[in-house]
């Protein structure tokens, strides 16, 4: 899958450059985040601007990353969700779990 990864101070910024985050590609995102935490990174920001569609596997990969972040005394936050993607977080009550920001810059200021 297409991921652009940048380091901004203490935060790793992952841009998911895919239209769909689903059971076909979400395992790669999960693995990538796992590698970052195991390599000593603590804070990840996942930018979902390009993601138009997310399924339960995509949500599950982000939940896995979130739990991984907490167990490494870090945090995983999300930014720029498209409306239909945001509605999936609401449907599954995950909007109560994740800190979701409307822009990447706002998210970066809130770590």
């Amino acid at each position: 899958m297409n991921l652009n990864i940048e380091q901004k101070n203490e935060i790793v910024l992952i841009y998911v450059k895919e239209e769909r985050l689903d059971a076909h590609n979400s395992g790669e995102l999960k693995l990538e985040m796992q590698k970052l935490f195991e390599g000593g990174k603590k804070n990840i920001l996942v930018d979902l601007k390009d993601v138009r569609f997310i399924d339960s596997s995509g949500l599950g990969a982000l939940v896995s990353g979130f739990k991984n972040a907490i167990s490494h005394q870090g945090n995983l936050k999300l930014s720029t969700l498209q409306p239909q993607v945001k509605s999936m977080f609401e449907l599954t009550r995950l909007h109560r779990v994740f800190e979701i920001f409307t822009s990447t810059s706002e998210a970066l200021e809130n770590y």
Binding site: D22, D55, S57
Partner: protein, 141 residues
Amino acid sequence: MEKNELEIDIKVPNQTRYLSLIGRIGEDIAKELVRYSGNRETLAYHINLVLTEAMVNAIKYANADDPDKMVHIFINITDDELLIKVFDNGQGFDINSVPPPDFEKLEDRGRGIFIIKTLMDCVSYRKVSDGNVLEMSKKLR
């Protein structure tokens, strides 16, 4: 077939790379349902989603990720109902024994069937001659 009726019958290999193709077909069909009184864009997104979830259920769990198996998808639209059937060749499971997700516990898995049951009006999973079928429908009027 009646004049408003539409039927699609597709078989794809048991591989997740076909999720987007089938999801997109469902989404495009829903966008054309001018007789649907609700928000068509939302309906289209939901059809893409339930097709994706049902196919993942067939591919990963029922058909145990066997790339040589097939998934059979049947979509039928009548005047007042959209019906989707997803057939697998696996062992099957009891859909009524799948618990709803525990929103207080953060599990990686277990949201797929909940999403399908939430977005569709009627959902069942039962044995057929050579496997199982997940059947889900939505009223259009």
